[in-house]
Symmetry: C2
Subunit: 596 residues, 2 copies
Amino acid sequence: MKRTHNCGQLTQEHIGQTVTLNGWVQTRRDLGGVLFIDLRDRSGLVQIVFNPAYSGEALTTADKVRSEYVIAVTGTVVKRDPETVNPNLPTGELEVRITEIEVLNAAKTPPFFIEDGVEVDETLRLKYRYLDLRRPEMQKTLLLRSKASKVFRDFLDGEGFIDVETPILTKSSPEGARDYLVPSRVHEGEFFALPQSPQIYKQLLMVSGVERYYQIARCFRDEDLRADRQPEFTQVDIETSFLDQEDLLGMMERLMQRLFRETVGVELELPFQRLTYADAMGKYGSDKPDLRFGLELVEMNDIVATSGVKVFASVIEKGGEVKCLNAKGCGTWPRKEIDDLGPYAARYGAKGLAWIQVKEGEFRGPIVKFMSEDEIAAIKERTGAEDGDLLLFSADNKKVVADVLGALRLKIGRQLGLIDDSVFKFVWVTDFPLLGYDETQKRYVAEHHPFTRPREEDLPLFDTDPGSIRAQAYDIVLNGYEVGGGSMRIYKRDVQEKMFKTLGMSDEVAHDKFGYLMDAFEYGTPPHGGIAFGLDRLVMLLAGRSNLRETIAFPKTASATDLLMNAPSSVEPVQLEDLHIKLALKPAADKKPAQA
Amino acid sequence: MKRTHNCGQLTQEHIGQTVTLNGWVQTRRDLGGVLFIDLRDRSGLVQIVFNPAYSGEALTTADKVRSEYVIAVTGTVVKRDPETVNPNLPTGELEVRITEIEVLNAAKTPPFFIEDGVEVDETLRLKYRYLDLRRPEMQKTLLLRSKASKVFRDFLDGEGFIDVETPILTKSSPEGARDYLVPSRVHEGEFFALPQSPQIYKQLLMVSGVERYYQIARCFRDEDLRADRQPEFTQVDIETSFLDQEDLLGMMERLMQRLFRETVGVELELPFQRLTYADAMGKYGSDKPDLRFGLELVEMNDIVATSGVKVFASVIEKGGEVKCLNAKGCGTWPRKEIDDLGPYAARYGAKGLAWIQVKEGEFRGPIVKFMSEDEIAAIKERTGAEDGDLLLFSADNKKVVADVLGALRLKIGRQLGLIDDSVFKFVWVTDFPLLGYDETQKRYVAEHHPFTRPREEDLPLFDTDPGSIRAQAYDIVLNGYEVGGGSMRIYKRDVQEKMFKTLGMSDEVAHDKFGYLMDAFEYGTPPHGGIAFGLDRLVMLLAGRSNLRETIAFPKTASATDLLMNAPSSVEPVQLEDLHIKLALKPAADKKPAQA
């Protein structure tokens, strides 16, 4: 009984036709000896009917089927009686009168209902992922992801990019996150590493003259996981030669435009907004600002440098800064609610949170009495404070001020309903600093990665002030999520050597780990640069979900466990012997408690 | 100086235009103060000219460039003088008169010439892979591979297949080849395994109702390598629900037809030939027969069962078989050449090789005197032996006879020039045995894998004669290479349990390793089956190459080494500590010699 049609694709035009359907029993209802089954396949649902009047033996068989049985049926498509039409179903005006049935496989009662919106513990969903994926919203997400990959490929192929696969068994590198390692059997005591990204390979492909490369590549990071991290993740990896940053950004905007058009039918306006890193941090307290709403941070230093509010003046004296966020309309909040912002701000490093309510044209609040009239007038003017507003002040070093007010901005934006969930708001953040200073390691670290090209005019700063070198690096931010990032790369050996040195890498280590790359730079390496998009996260946003695991067919938990297969798992001693390793377990007493 | 055109794409229509090119210096010649450079980019070559008459300062700069320098140039496209036209170059009637040049990067003299056909040690090529890939034939292969992947995707997408990514960090499985293992940091003493294929995941996707899945998937096997094996390889992985074997094979033939049409412009005739495993082994001594030529093996048992040639009679008595290969026209070979076939056959297990020359209508050779006239007449008739032919006989058990005559058939086919390299000859080999008996392990092993569905009518044989169960398994063979294979899968728990049991797996191991799969079979699993194509091998054949490494951008050597990055490599002690393992190296004296 071979399928002739898909359940969800039956329409008026099939009325009168004999069709054979294959699928799963969604629901069954017995109404006075007539059996109604909603039959489900990937395309959707259709109602099939077994009636003594025309179903004969098939009714007897059908009587035994239960939810999630797999069946094949043959019957005639008819129009339903008007009173039985189901307006919630695309096929709701039809039903199929069955004359033949074959049970292809039986099913036990599943541990949860196969339907959307059902409240199930995620642990159970992951253990029975093969049932969870049957739910329509999961099927839809799988389809969306497949479609998104296809659009990326079609666009890039059209622009002359070549899809090149790079190795998964590669070399451990000292920079970046922790590597997953793979012991070598052939080379005793040596290890492969799974790639954190195909970064070096794609640069070598540029050295190879490939000119335009892409790959939808699996990447691996052995880090403690957060809700939006997975130990293995997928990036759309892109690299070009001879293009400059502007060329590349423009091309990527067209890529995003096509992606959103062809997957969710949204027409993005080009060009995307641009913000320098400095502006993004200054105005939004974040290098991935959500620009679906305003609530910009306001500079206060010049106004409050000599303020009677001691903490303001002293912070500024010590080289810190004071900024203000005008939480429009929040001045009418009850005192308790305002006070609750303090502990929230503290999570982001704030030692305190000063605030002013605006009521009847007046500033009110504990700090107001320390302020001069000029100061109050200047603050009022610059923040545009009006009756009912709440001014929130953070005074600290730059980073804390950004973190605190950036977080409060998001919290208040959400609370005030300023965020339109139907909007996709892209912004490029550019001109990232090349290096950050790591106080723990007492050395500079690469903000993007050690292959990022400095701005030409900042090169002399390597010798005087490395921390202020600007990188030719950019992130693409969507609704407050970083969905991609990249840079122009270093392509000259002397600059790369300077970079490694500034990162505190000895010549020996640099040569051992990246010698081949620096060698490569000497054989005619073109100027090049690229970008990588986080596919999991992009699909999450396209699908309107808030958890990366919803976009991955077989994800791992926060403790990097595959609950379905029960991996990782113990292995046979002979397997370890072959790999020239043995276990080095901590004594039980010393063990950390197992992670959830 | 942004590129306006690609070197290889300049044509007559650009004559008179000012163009900017970016690329690499292929060659430079100085003819009396005029400098000719062949400039190369991904698209090809074009000659550019620096002449004091129009190049000015640019000539001074150009004078310093050497092979593989990266430059940007601007100039005017002109027609070459007729006597300087280069008919070997698509752009050979043109040259570009340069007025501006910028050196983007310098280059040392490369360790080998960047051109096709150059004889370079492969070790050197792999160490400098980024230069090796600049050679036009390597660029062409990369492009071909990218194109092939795209055609697979376009076809499968058009047929409603969904591209689903499955995990790389998965679970070690007891069947199959040796796993690559990845120690877990979070779960002490436990390991992930890299997948040998996404087999189980794709079956679970069928349980999930995905119905049509594909993925161009990386797979891993930690085996000793041969010329046509790599530790990581790529397969086009396909799985379907509700289709039977015939549906699937037909669809895959259309896929191959489109692939060959769109990559190499060859029109394959459908349907492909079919051979059962038994026929393939019987007629060609191979389960991956090269059908570009005939030379079929001929059954002799009935004719020589009572032969005076003792070895024939005794082999048959012991249940073995005798077969003959008529090497057409080889009867005139010098005796030495015929005798040399003996040692060749011995490599495939032959204890001896009997032969007969046909001369002037007569059989000649050492064994002829033991044969009766009837026997000779019967052999002559069945083999179609004519003057000048050479009959080669193998008498042994079935496997040795197939191996020996299968190998001789290929050798002689090649030697006689019977193989047309321009032909792509596909054949499906079907009805593989489900199980083979492993004499070392004293148990049955899965010929395909343990999830392969037996033919319905053979199911009772599990209890009586498992070795004779036929599988619903098929290989797709091209010119003697297996380029893909698959099967219909078991989808009922009781059959899967029987299979595991027959493989000697205890209930406990079966449950531990595959419990989730057998559980899944109880929740409404549709009939399903699929196939996987070896992308590396297919591209190798499409490109007319004979080494898998030529089709992979960054391949590993036969000892699983990445010569470019020098991986695998030693790692820091703290990395191992984090992973709860330590090295267990053999004492030096006990070490095996390092593999090449």
